[in-house]
Amino acid sequence: MDYSNLRRQAASMKKSLFDQGYLDEQFCQVEDLQDEASPNFVEEVVTLFFKDSGRLMSNIEQALEKYPRDFNRWDTYMQQLKGSCSSIGASRMKNECMSFRDSCGQGNVEGCMRSFQKVKREHAVLRQKLESYFQLLRQAGPAGAATRPVM
């Protein structure tokens, strides 16, 4: 198997995630925390993010249905999701969370609903892209995550 080619593909995929705005510098900060004692730290954190964010999105979905126009409640839940996004550098998703919060601030129900659909879409896309990225990294071997994208 051509491991160097796989590593190049992984690096290219990661650069693309940054170039398209899916990820920001915080993702690199998380990568920097990976070491020999925690060799799978990044993937573990990302896995935890998707578990957490799934739960938070479910809370928001229920709140939108059960508590109409309760902008304070909606905003509180979305702030938690935004915080999680920030922790791993999920930039596009974070921006949609912020749009939702802006709509809450304006008392704009339609805006909230639209933004929430976008949050869900970004979540699904990011999940698919990161799953592909980590699959490639696993195939490429231990040196696969060594490079920081040139931005």
């Binding site: 920097d32 925390l33 573990e44 935890l48 957490d52 999680s84 922790s87």
Partner: protein, 127 residues
């Protein structure tokens, strides 16, 4: 002479934020002993019941049961002088002021990183 062990209390309700913060603390050289509290009420209990005083408390703002402002007030009300650094994604002046008024010593924004924690540890001479 052996370096003193740094004891930190990390107060944060979201697990992912605790995981990243813990790793960043360790990378910044301040993760000898890291206790966690998932809300302000647990934080106050941890401080009250700690076998040895903490060297640093990292306090999130928005948490269920008891928020960071109230937890900070209560910890100060116990006469505890441990540095408390507020952590929040909303770095609005009103937020920072509220935390300082409650008794926090400093404020930093989320997300936490090795660099930000390095600055904090150096500021309070824990690095």
């Amino acid at each position: 002479m052996a370096r003193k062990m740094i004891r930190v209390l990390l107060v944060e309700d979201e697990e992912i934020n605790r995981v990243v913060a813990r790793a960043a603390l360790k990378a910044a050289g301040g993760g000898d002993v890291v206790d966690e509290a998932e809300n302000g009420e647990v934080a106050v209990q941890r401080v009250r019941d700690a076998a040895a005083p903490y060297d640093l408390v990292l306090m999130d703002k928005q948490m269920p049961v008891m928020d960071g402002h109230e937890a900070t007030r209560r910890i100060r009300g116990m006469g505890v002088t441990t540095p408390i650094v507020a952590v929040s994604s909303d770095g609005l002046p009103a937020d920072v002021d509220a935390f300082i008024t409650a008794g926090a010593d400093d404020f930093t924004s989320k997300p936490l990183s090795k660099e930000k924690l390095g600055v904090i540890l150096a500021k309070f001479r824990l690095a």
